[in-house]
Structure formats: C-alpha cells, structure tokens
C-alpha cells in the first residue's frame, strides 16, 4: 500500500502521470487543491498551467490546447461545471478529447460546500446544448480515482470525446493510502493543429448533420458496448439488489456485506461508469429478484431513473425500484440497513 495522500492531490498527480500537460481553470471548493497542486507541478514537468478569469475561459483554453493535440484537463465543482457546459458541448461537437473533473457539492444555484451526488443527471445526459454524451467515471476510493484518471484520458483520446471524472467533494478532501500510477510518456495527438494545415477541416458551413448523426450514434453505441464498468456482488441469488456509486456506493457495499452476514439475500451493483450505464451488470442479477434499491446523495432521486430503465431493458419484468435519496453526505451502513428494512417491511413505496 502506498503512502497516505489527499484525494484532490492524488487526482492531480495522476493526471500528470497520465501525460496531461495543460490545465486551465478557476478556483472553487471542494476542487481547488487540484489546480493548486497543478500550478506548481505542471511547471516542473514542462506543461502549461493557466489560472483563467472564469470557468468559461478555462474550458475554452482547454479547447485551444486540445485542438493542438495536448492532453488537457480542467477541474471544478457543480456551479463551475455549469459554466463549462458551453465548452463541453463544443469539445463534443469538434470531437476533441479532454478530461473535466467535477468534485460535486450539494445544491442548486451557488449550492453549498457539502459532499453530494446531485449532478448525476446533468453529467450523464450531456449538460450543454445539443445532443451529445460524455463518458462519466465515478470512483469510490482514492486508489480507484487515480486509476480512473488515467482511464479518463485514454478513453477521451480513443473515442475523441469528453471524459467527465465525477466524484464527490468528500473524496477530494479525505486521505487514504494510495499507489500512484507510473509516469507515462507524454504523447501529442497527431491530428492536432501545427499551423501547416496538415489535417484538413471541413468548412463550417459545409457540414452534413444527417451524416454526422449516423457516425455519432455509431460511436456512442461502441462506447456503450465496450466501456461499461462496474463492481457487483451477491447478485445471482439476491432478492434485493442495491445500486449506488461513488462513496455512497462504497458504504452500500459494506451494508450489503453486513446484511448478508445477518442472513439477508441482498446484493449490490456499484456503477463505475454511469455513462455508459452498466446495463450488463443487470444481466447477472437473479431473474426472480424482488426489487432494486438505489442509495443516492441528492434530494430528488436521479440514479433511480437509469435503474428503472435498465430493469425494463434487461429483466423485462415489473420489478419495483426503490429510491433512497439522502440529499448530501455519505450515508452510513447503519442508515442503508434501515433503508432496507423500510423496503422489506412495506413502509417504503417503490418509485417505479
């Protein structure tokens, strides 16, 4: 096991080791340590750090760097990511890779500083204008976070998409032992601008949206087929299956293990990619399962929608889906077990 390290610093160092050489962004709690760390570290490795005048400028600077073939990232939290949507839809439209980190904090508007999962629907649906998706990766530990940062760059490059690294404020602020990945050789994408017009572009008024839509769907279908990631346990004979991601997902896994030890037939699915949603995880679930239970850190229940849609798609049966939105924080194992008791006692009604 590696040394203890703070989440945001581990994430920033992992980006350096993944070959990122450009960061532009604007401070916001609870993500700021990422840019603080990179401000010094990028200089050391010959990269570029820019403290932008706004999140909008930051993501547009990332567009500039990515256009030239450099591995680029930005980091923020909910309200800042709102401002970045303009740039994320542009990156998606131009098929430029980039990594956008959202250390989620709770609330609408300027929100709060509390750790939460309230941006699930925005990130999984492509939050800007138009009709695009981003690959969305969600870690449940600092070790997993550093591994997913590397993967985020690799996938962004492979599919020419934006990878969103969506974690919770708490993961950025906590410390855990962590083995950092090895330093990768820095690559420059061959298709980047070099000033010589090596890579021809189609005229901006000559684009064919009909043809592009076919290619876009082919690409997204390939991502859905090949890039689903999840962790699951005890699902093949489970009567109830919990679905939860991130730190609440980690807590849920612990609760499931305790419930199993107490004789309850429960299982769990912890999505690691929330887009593409791990539909395949549901194929392994006991066909006679009595219900799915989401554990979420938001107010209205967001993950529940994808769970219900996936039940329809995979199990093709009227299996109830229950939702436990804990608003903010990380629900304890005890709380999750109480949620379970409310479900089996009939006290909690299904959402779908």
């Amino acid at each position: 096991m590696g040394d203890m390290i703070k989440g945001n610093e581990a994430i920033a160092e992992a980006a350096i080791r993944a070959g990122a050489r450009f960061y532009a962004g604007y401070p916001i709690t609870p993500s700021t340590e990422i840019m603080e760390y990179l401000s010094g570290r990028l200089e050391e490795v010959g990269g570029t750090f820019i403290q932008a005048e706004s999140e909008i400028a930051g993501i547009n600077m990332v567009i500039g760097a990515s256009s030239c073939g450099v591995r680029a990232l930005t980091a923020s939290s909910g309200p800042g990511i709102s401002l970045k949507q303009e740039g994320m839809t542009t990156l998606s439209d131009e098929e430029l890779p980039a990594v956008v980190i959202n250390m989620v904090r709770y609330g609408n508007g300027i929100g709060t500083l509390l750790t939460a999962q309230c941006d699930y629907l925005r990130e999984t649906r492509g939050g800007g204008n138009g009709d695009y998706r981003c690959i969305v990766l969600c870690p449940s530990s600092i070790q997993e976070a550093v591994e997913l940062i590397t993967l985020a760059f690799d996938l962004a490059e492979k599919y020419r998409m934006v990878s969103v690294f969506m974690s919770e404020g708490a993961l950025g602020q906590m410390m855990e032992p962590c083995d950092l990945p090895k330093m990768q050789e820095v690559k420059r994408y061959g298709w980047g601008f070099d000033g010589k017009y090596t890579n021809k572009l189609i005229g901006i008024f000559d684009r064919d949206s009909m043809k592009e839509s076919v290619l876009m769907n082919e690409k997204y279908n390939k991502v859905k087929e090949n890039e689903q990631r999840w962790e699951s346990g005890y699902v093949d004979d489970a009567e109830y299956v919990f679905v939860s991601y991130g730190l609440p997902g980690r807590s849920t896994k612990g609760a499931v293990e305790q419930l199993r030890a107490e004789g309850h037939k429960v299982g769990f699915i912890r999505p690691i990619t929330v887009w593409p949603f791990p539909v395949k995880a549901f194929e392994e679930v006991n066909p006679n399962v009595k219900g799915f239970i989401t554990i979420e850190a938001n107010a209205t229940g967001q993950l529940i929608d994808d769970v219900a849609l996936t039940i329809k798609k995979v199990l093709r049966a009227d299996i109830p889906a229950y939702c436990n939105p804990h608003v903010y924080g990380i629900p304890s194992m005890k709380t999750i077990k109480e949620d379970y008791n409310k479900v089996i006692s009939g006290e909690m009604k299904e959402v779908y």
Partner: protein
C-alpha cells in the same frame, strides 16, 4: 495593362460577405501580410461567431470556430502549447466586446502573445443589425429603434485605447479601409501586430472599422462616408495607441 495581384493561397476560396462589407478587405490584408511575413503556412485562427464566422468557409489554414466571444481564451490555449505558430483571433465587435469582453480583456491583461483582429461595424451584423457595445449615440438599430440612448445603454467602447492605456500590451491600433490610403495604412497596422507576435513582444490588437451597408440601410458609398464623417472624426480615431517599442 494593369497587373492583377494574386489572391493569397490561404484565402483562395469564396466567402459569403454582403456587398460593401469590410470583412473581405480585412481578411485579404491579413492573408497578404501573413504571406509577406512567410507565416501563411504557420498560422492558426480562432474565429468568432457572427459575420466573422464566414471566414471559416474561406480559409485554408488551421482554424477553430470558437464559441461566441471566447476566441481570446481559445487562442490563449493554442498559443501556450504551440508557441512557434502564429495564433490569430478574428472577431467582430459584438463577439469581442460584448459577450466576449471578459475573454478579450483578460487575454490583453495577461499580455498573451497572440494577435487579435476585431472588425467593428457598430452593430451585430449576422443576426440582423442589433445594437452592440460599439453602436454610436443615437444610432438606430433593430434593438434601439429610437436611436441608441447612451444614458441607459452606455457609451461605445474604445477597446484599443483601453488596452493601450491600462495594460502592458505590445501593440494596439485602429484602422479604416475606406480609401486606398487608409487600406495601406491598415495593412501597416496589421503587419506590425503580426510582427509583434513573431518577435514575442506580447499581445497585439488591431480594430478595423468596417461598413455594414445591409444593416445600416445604406449604399456601400454612403457607408464609407459614414465612417469617414461620423465615426473616425468624433469617436473612433484611426491610429496607433500603443506603438511597438523601438519601432
């Protein structure tokens, strides 16, 4: 017989500007300067949204069509990672001075080593002639139908003067293209701005006054007269506001 000058290779495609519009002349001057400076195969454009977008269809160079107003930020990113390429932001007044004021100003504030060309036609051309930050006092536009009231909408912005007086930029000028003499003058400004970037002197900006006969409801000749008689004498003087040091 008069000898026709060859069209620079980098813009040897049709562009769809209105008759009497200044964009075509400005683009031609930029392309000529790039060629004369040996930089036409070493250039990346960040193109604004609006009539400036039409440049995207005519250029044979690396180029990124930026979101509305963001060329200053996009070009910053490009120049930082490709310092040996010439990076040019090409924008209109609505793009650079209204929606993009933060990005335009912050790039000048940081003294980014990029060149910014801003075509100022005192309105939003592409969307049909709305009031912009450069619309003149009393000017009738589709969103100031009774004439611009500066008491509540502010006075026209003078960006080259602003950056020259407030920031540590390398070069700042305003040109006009209403006569051959003015065109030659404007070309000198454009070339100076590009040379400033080539020599790593820092941020350079040239604003170019352009007629917009379609939205001004004028003929091309009337539009020129308006620039010469209404704009340059009273509010938008032609000249260098920050000359290159030692030049």
């Amino acid at each position: 017989m008069a000898k026709a000058k060859k069209v620079p290779e980098s813009i040897d495609r049709l562009m769809g500007f209105c008759p009497g519009c200044g964009h075509g002349v400005v683009i031609r001057l930029i392309a000529e300067c790039l060629e004369e400076l040996g930089q036409d195969k070493n250039v990346i454009f960040g193109i604004g949204v609006g009539c400036s977008s039409l440049l995207g269809g005519g250029l044979e160079t690396d180029r990124r069509h930026c979101s509305h107003g963001r060329a200053g930020a996009v070009c910053t990113g490009m120049k930082r990672v490709n310092p040996d390429n010439i990076v040019i932001a090409y924008q209109g007044d609505g793009d650079a001075y209204s929606i993009g004021l933060a990005e335009t100003t912050a790039a000048a504030y940081r003294n980014e080593n990029i060149t910014v060309f801003i075509v100022n036609n005192t309105n939003y051309g592409m969307t049909g002639g709305q009031m912009s930050h450069t619309t003149m006092p009393g000017q009738i536009t589709t969103t100031s139908p009774h004439g611009r009231n500066c008491d509540v909408t502010g006075y026209p912005i003078r960006f080259p003067e602003l950056v020259a007086s407030q920031f540590n930029v390398a070069y700042s000028a305003r040109g006009s293209i209403t006569s051959p003499a003015q065109i030659n003058n404007a070309k000198k400004y454009i070339k100076n701005a590009l040379e400033a970037q080539i020599n790593h002197e820092g941020y350079s900006v040239v604003e170019l006054l352009s007629g917009c006969p379609t939205n001004w409801g004028m003929s091309a000749m009337e539009a020129k007269t308006r620039i010469d008689e209404d704009l340059t004498p009273s509010y938008y003087p032609v000249g260098e506001f920050k000359a290159r040091e030692g030049k």
